[in-house]
């Protein structure tokens, strides 16, 4: 692989599709300051990886790089087996149909109502009949339990409802990878729990791989200790000792570098003083 990339540097490399996302020694510099400094990690298919770090550690930047919204200064990024490092915007548009993102402040289009926001990608593709779009919008809104808001404008929704509409917009194409940028940021505990339950449902029912950027440790720990119960329609706590069965891992950043990449058990038993302080 390395040899072929040396021989054909312009040719996009293909990563075996065992991982949903792979970062290889990625560096990004903003205004002469390194934001990401040699970041490497892999997100296996079906797994959710929670990314922590202090403000400005580069967490949201990782999501934007994974979607090709930003270009890395060096290193390589593979998404669903494709090297996106040198990919053109046109090819990225195709790849992005397989990846969904929920932005920090929802980023719903102000001038469009909920239906138009959720249906945006399908409408833009212009290949799907209107009735089918309507049906899929209702399905997506039903997943986030917001069918009754279909004709409302984003300005008429609460913060939590906007986040849920953003989730509906991200999942309408049934993406293979989901990127969540602080989906519970600024929300009250009850709404946050509802959002986390949706994330757990998406992970356990649809087996979607995801990167979750969050400031709230408790959200990630809830995801690591709960699974979705289809019978009751709610998430339930796993019995002690079965935590390893949950496809959940943690990545901690400090000053643009990865200082921890492992599961909940490893995180709980870490000896790193900074991480201990962070967890406390």
């Amino acid at each position: 692989m390395a040899l072929s990339s040396q021989m054909f540097p312009s040719e996009a490399r293909v990563q075996p599709p065992s991982d949903a996302i792979v970062f290889e020694n990625v560096e990004l510099i903003f205004e002469h300051k390194p934001v990401l400094d040699g970041i490497s990690f892999r997100l296996p298919h079906g797994e959710t990886k929670a990314i922590f770090g202090a403000a400005g550690a580069g967490k949201s930047t990782i999501l934007k790089l994974a979607l090709g919204l930003l270009k890395a200064d060096s290193g390589r990024i593979f998404v669903l087996g494709e090297d996106i490092t040198e990919m053109t915007e046109d090819r990225l548009f195709e790849l992005r149909s397989r990846v969904g993102i929920v932005f920090q402040e929802s980023a719903l289009f102000d001038s469009l109502n909920v239906r138009e926001n959720v249906a945006f990608r399908l409408t833009e593709e212009g290949k799907i009949p209107e009735e089918q779009i309507d049906q899929r919008v209702r399905e997506a809104l039903s997943f986030v339990e917001l069918e009754n808001t279909i004709d409302m404008l984003p300005s008429e929704l609460s913060g939590g409802m906007r986040r849920r509409v953003a989730i509906a917009r991200a999942i309408i194409t049934k993406p293979e990878v989901l990127l969540y940028d602080s989906p519970t940021g600024g929300l009250d505990p009850i709404t946050s729990t509802n959002i986390i339950e949706l994330l757990v449902k998406q992970r356990d029912v649809y087996k979607t791989s995801s990167l979750l950027v969050t400031h709230r440790l408790q959200d990630a720990f809830v995801m690591a200790t709960h699974c979705f119960d289809r019978a009751s329609g709610h998430m339930k706590r796993l019995p002690p000792g079965s935590k390893a069965e949950v496809p959940m891992s943690f990545l901690i950043l400090r000053d643009g570098k990865v200082i921890f990449d492992g599961d909940a058990h490893e995180l709980a038993h870490t000896r790193d003083e900074y991480i201990k302080k962070y967890l406390s």
Partner: protein
């Protein structure tokens, strides 16, 4: 915040860095404009967005264009009346208003009015979308924001400014005729006959080619500043101001170059 605190926060930029930033900005503006124009030949064309923008820009600017045109024509007639009277040539007022409005004042005044209204609107709308990550969301959802947002605005502004200029010229002549007949006692029919007969192809062509350039300048500058917004709501305000200032100055600069080029091309009258 005290003056000392303020001064300690002011970042000084070296002349080299300043020059680099300006060159970078010009390069980004040219790239955005070229990309927006190239999108005219790529599908989808977003006809609905073009029509919506045409309504917002064209119909929305109708009242200011009509008022600005009328008063410009009236003021032109009033100001030139005393000079013409001195030479006993008051009857030439219709010709002066007609050539002045159609050839120069109509397009420039309309361009500046539309720039004030729409370049600011575009910069603030797109700037708000940038700072609330809606532009990133659009890219993430597989849509090219330049194609969806910038190209329709450029097409609509260019087309609508052309028609707004014709209206402005017409209302300028009407304003002039009101002054000529009501204040100066000239014959209404004679005024319009003179105003019509003095116009040659070169005048009309010069007057109608300008809005095409000004429309492009207004929309491309407004969109550029909007898309280049950074720094939250404060940044949106800054972009809005910069868009109006830059588009107004550019209209006057383009006017100067265009006048020279058209004079060389069509000759003096």
């Amino acid at each position: 915040m005290s003056a000392e605190d303020f001064l300690s926060r002011v970042e000084l930029i070296s002349p080299t860095e300043f020059a680099k930033q300006k060159v970078q900005a010009v390069q980004d503006y040219i790239l955005l404009s070229a990309q927006a124009l190239a999108n005219l030949f790529r599908r989808p064309l977003y006809i609905a967005d073009i029509l919506q923008q045409a309504d917002l820009i064209g119909v929305g600017s109708l009242s200011i264009t009509v008022l600005a045109g009328t008063f410009t024509g009236a003021v032109l007639a009033m100001n030139s009346a005393s000079t013409l009277q001195r030479f006993g040539s008051l009857s030439l007022i219709a010709q002066l208003v007609s050539v002045g409005m159609v050839r120069q004042l109509g397009p420039v005044i309309t361009g500046l009015m539309v720039a004030g209204r729409n370049a600011s609107g575009m910069a603030s709308e797109l700037g708000s979308m940038v700072v609330t990550e809606q532009i990133d969301a659009m890219r993430a959802l597989g849509t090219d924001p330049v194609k969806k947002l910038v190209t329709p605005r450029i097409v609509s502004t260019t087309v609508m400014l052309f028609f707004l200029t014709i209206l402005s010229d017409l209302f300028g002549l009407l304003g002039g005729s009101a002054v000529a007949t009501l204040l100066l006692g000239l014959d209404f029919r004679q005024y319009w006959t003179d105003a019509w007969q003095i116009l040659a192809f070169a005048d009309v062509f010069t007057g109608l080619i300008q809005p095409v350039f000004y429309g492009f300048v207004i929309a491309s500058v407004g969109c550029y500043y909007g898309m280049a917004t950074s720094g939250g709501t404060q940044g949106v305000g800054r972009s809005t101001t910069q868009a109006v200032v830059a588009s107004s100055v550019l209209i006057l600069a383009v006017d100067a170059f265009l006048t020279r080029a058209l004079t060389l091309l069509l000759g003096f009258r």
